[in-house]
């Protein structure tokens, strides 16, 4: 418990330090740094529409963070959440467009389809890393999942473009899905995606899964020490497969929720980058699903703040990206930990 508090403090210090560094950056690039920094820091809170933008943005990030946390806990360096997200979105769109328009059931079927398609997209890297790669070959896992992202993106692109394209839209997108398959908004006026609630519930479930179930236990043991796990009779290959599949189901669910809860169509013309976003969010949360919502909200806040700053000042949104990267660097840097530990111990000694 003490070490958890410690980790939290460490993360907060990293956040604070990087905010400071970013301020210095802004002072350098901006003519009116105080205004820009204020927009960046409190901008998202200033209007409800921005608040909605922030929350909506955090939903897919939250799911991606959860998906990545699951595979990372199994020590599988997979960034496949992206492809799984898109395939999930594709599956949900296709089913929503073809299924009869029955209330509730239509929505449920579409969401389930998204999850299932995402999960299927996770079966391939799961099997590949269990049987095709050497144990612990994380570079292999990374490459496989990266390639699967491209294949997923273009598969979805091809399918929508050739079979489900809305020819009246000015860009590549599917037609709108029927309203019986809409996930209700939290606030229809500000278009706040109702998936937020689901995302939080799933975070709780994933935490329960990892820390309170047999499968979660297996995943964590394989993740900390593969030799230990197999010595004690845990079937490592099986664990690698289902950790990939379950993670992919979460990512697929995210895709389905974006479609049914917000856009109401498939509209991704380029890769949204959720694979790496998931990695960042999981890293900040130390792979702990209970912390992923915080970390996702935080990253989404930075990005929204960045956009607000861009719209209202002479600083570009890329600054937010810089900030994000600095935070990840600081949070993951062991050096900071040591620095802190020493300070704490010194204090302890002098109290003696």
């Amino acid at each position: 418990m003490r070490s958890n508090v410690f980790e939290l403090v460490r993360t907060l210090v990293a956040v604070f330090l990087s905010l400071l560094i970013v301020f210095i950056f802004i002072v350098i690039v901006s003519k009116d740094p105080v205004r820009a920094y204020r927009l960046f820091l409190i901008g998202p809170f200033a209007r409800i529409s921005r608040l909605a933008e922030w929350l909506n943005q955090s939903i897919p990030l939250l799911f991606a963070g959860l998906a990545v946390a699951i595979v990372f806990q199994a020590n599988q360096f997979s960034i496949g959440a992206e492809g799984q997200f898109l395939i999930g979105a594709l599956g949900a769109t296709m089913v929503a467009l073809s299924f009869p328009e029955v209330d509730v059931i239509h929505l449920l079927v579409a969401i389930l389809a998204g999850m299932l398609c995402g999960a299927l997209w996770g079966v391939i890297p799961g099997l590949l890393s269990a049987y095709g790669l050497k144990e612990g070959d994380n570079l292999g896992v990374l490459v496989v999942s990266l390639m699967m992202n491209f294949i997923g993106f273009y598969t979805a692109y091809y399918t929508i473009n050739n079979h489900f394209r809305d020819i009246y839209a000015g860009f590549m997108a599917s037609p709108f899905i029927p309203s019986t398959s809409y996930l209700p908004f939290l606030s229809a006026r500000y278009r706040i995606n109702g998936g937020l609630v689901i995302a939080f519930i799933i975070a709780g479930l994933v935490w329960y899964f990892l820390y309170r179930t047999k499968w979660g236990y297996e995943i964590r043991m394989v993740g900390t020490n593969i030799g230990f796990a197999s010595f004690n009779g845990i079937n490592v290959k099986r664990v690698i497969i289902y950790s990939n599949v379950i993670s992919a189901a979460v990512a697929g669910l995210a895709g389905a929720i974006e479609v049914t809860g917000l856009h109401h169509r498939y509209l991704w013309q380029s890769m949204p980058g959720y694979g790496f976003d998931g990695v960042i969010i999981a890293l900040i949360a130390r792979n702990n699903p209970a912390l992923v919502p915080l970390s996702a909200l935080f990253v989404a806040y930075l990005r929204t703040g960045g956009r607000v700053m861009e719209r209202g000042s002479d600083v570009s949104a890329e600054m937010a990206m810089v900030l994000e990267s600095i935070i990840v660097l600081l949070v993951t840097a062991e050096a900071l930990l040591n620095l802190w530990q020493r300070k704490r111990l010194k204090r302890k000694v002098s109290q003696r």
Binding site: F228, F231, L345
Partner: protein, 510 residues
């Protein structure tokens, strides 16, 4: 070292106002029970841990050692209790890690190899430079560790339980090497649980108990019993273990003509033996003669190239570990860090690794947190694991306590066949006694026990029959323990002598 105090972030006071004086050119033994704070003190000296209070003086001058780099600069070297080599690199690469000889921009490999070989020869620690460390037996890794430290020019060597993994012969060799080092002016701090070695090797000693100093002095002026009393706080009788009184029962483990071939080399060659219920069969041998591979095959972590293995007449050759375990096989592995425990998991999680799916610990697909905690508390009590709580991470335990976690899990499985590979490695006097007694109890309960050990004393004390392995074959079998002496075993272990095929077949036709 003066008034050293160390409190770990989790509140454990590992060192409390400790003084340690080591003179130049001496061998100084540091003694104490598991968890007494020996490794912590040494880590402070080597700059891995920071003391909360206290000063360190080197040749009269106060020094500040903030990191191992500082320590190396001050010519202090340390061989850790748990090895710190990089398994995927070769011996020579490990030895020169961080101090690579260079040629232009690239590493001068031949120079690295030459350095390794030269130092190896000079200090009586021969190694084969091109082998990958992961493939090496533990005894050999130990040598590499020492070489690595010597190559960095250390004058003060810290050896944390260096002999725990060595055979008597290897120990002799090491001691000879250490004595050579001392005559060349090097100073050695030597952590150990083996009192005989203290008497044999050390000039002076310091004893820690519960993180405090409880004694020091000249080795020549104390007896082993006095040392034990200082370490434990009370006297412990010498080890006497009950020999087998009942006749052994039915065959539990049958190994028949097992071969294991790696890179075209016979690592195991036609190994056949039996272990019956109610007996302890010991496999003696110098580390690296196929015992490790044999154990791996028996627990399902490696596949035998040829041959058959039966448990109670049911064949299980090359079955997956889970199936083997569910048939009643348990194993205390020699490699506790790689196999025995998950360092970043808690004690309670480590203790259920082979049984979390059982009904006591799980309902449906969930885990029963309360039962798991109770289970851990219980085992921690029975096996005297010193830790704050069941949720303590195993990685923060002392070496001996980590071993207790492994022993607790495997012995509490109530196995029909228990494979104990170096079961008391790194344990203090009391714990060693405890584990050996538990093995005897298990035997008397009717378990079949296969003891793999490089410690001849342990073998002589526990075994009902002895098998000697040399270069992957069984070269001797003794059914009558009384007639065996450690010297005799040594001859077979080194391949100097060898029984006739017929005699060695006794392992099979018993």
């Amino acid at each position: 070292m003066c008034g050293i105090t160390k409190v770990y972030p989790n509140g454990v006071v590992a060192n409390r106002n400790i003084n340690l004086n080591v003179e130049k050119g001496e061998i100084h033994a540091l003694l104490g029970e598991n968890g007494a704070g020996k490794s912590t003190l040494m880590k402070i000296l080597y700059g891995i841990e920071r003391a909360d209070a206290g000063k360190i003086f080197l040749e009269g001058k106060e020094v500040h050692i903030a990191s191992p780099l500082d320590a190396i600069r001050l010519k202090i070297g340390m061989v850790h209790q748990e090895f710190m080599l990089i398994p995927s690199l070769s011996v020579a690469e490990n030895c020169v890690l961080g101090i690579e000889p260079r040629r232009g921009l690239s590493i001068d490999r031949s120079k690295a190899i030459e350095l390794t070989e030269r130092f190896g020869a000079e200090f009586g620690l021969p190694v084969s430079h091109n082998e990958i460390v992961a493939e090496l037996p533990v005894g050999m890794r130990q040598r590499v560790e020492i070489l690595k430290v010597l190559l960095r020019g250390a004058e003060l060597l810290i050896l944390d339980e260096p002999t725990a993994v060595l055979t008597p012969l290897e120990t002799e060799e090491l001691f000879a090497a250490l004595k050579t080092l001392v005559t060349r002016g090097k100073t050695i701090i030597f952590v150990t649980h083996k009192l005989k070695e203290v008497k044999q090797l050390a000039d002076r000693f310091t004893v820690l108990r519960d993180g405090s100093n409880v004694g020091n002095g000249l080795v020549s002026e104390v007896s082993e019993a006095e040392l034990v009393r200082m370490m434990v706080g009370r006297a412990i009788e010498v080890d006497v273990y009950k020999k087998r009184t009942t006749k052994p029962g039915a065959e539990v483990l049958t190994v028949k003509g097992v071969f294991y071939i790696r890179d075209g080399r016979n690592v195991l060659q036609n190994v056949s033996f039996k272990v019956r219920s109610g007996e302890i069969v010991a496999i003696a041998g110098v580390e690296g003669n196929g015992q490790a591979e044999l154990v791996d095959i028996l627990v399902g972590l490696r596949k035998a190239t040829r041959g058959k293995i039966f448990l109670n007449d049911k064949e299980y050759t090359n079955a997956p570990p889970k199936e083997i375990r569910s048939q009643g096989v348990a194993c205390i592995p020699a490699d506790r860090i790689g196999r025995g425990v998950a360092m970043r998991a808690s004690i309670e999680e480590n203790l259920i690794a082979d049984r979390y799916f059982k009904r006591e610990f799980s309902r449906w697909w969930g885990l029963n947190k309360k039962a798991i905690r109770e289970h851990a508390k219980n085992l921690m009590h029975v096996f005297a694991i010193r830790a704050i709580a069941p949720s303590t991470l195993v990685g923060s335990l002392s070496g001996g306590n980590i071993q207790r976690v492994v022993v607790a899990r495997e012995l509490s499985a109530g196995p029909q066949l228990l494979i104990a590979d170096q079961p008391t490695r790194g344990l203090d006097v009391a714990a060693t006694k405890f584990v050996r007694q538990r093995l005897i109890d298990e035997r008397d309960r009717g378990a079949a026990i296969l003891l793999v050990s490089t410690d001849l004393e342990e073998i002589m004390q526990l075994a009902d029959r002895i098998i000697v392995m040399y270069k992957g074959s069984i070269v001797a079998h003794f059914a009558d323990i009384e007639s065996v002496t450690p010297e005799l075993l040594g001859q077979y272990m080194l391949g100097v002598e060898r029984q006739s095929e017929k005699e060695a077949e006794g392992a099979w036709n018993c």
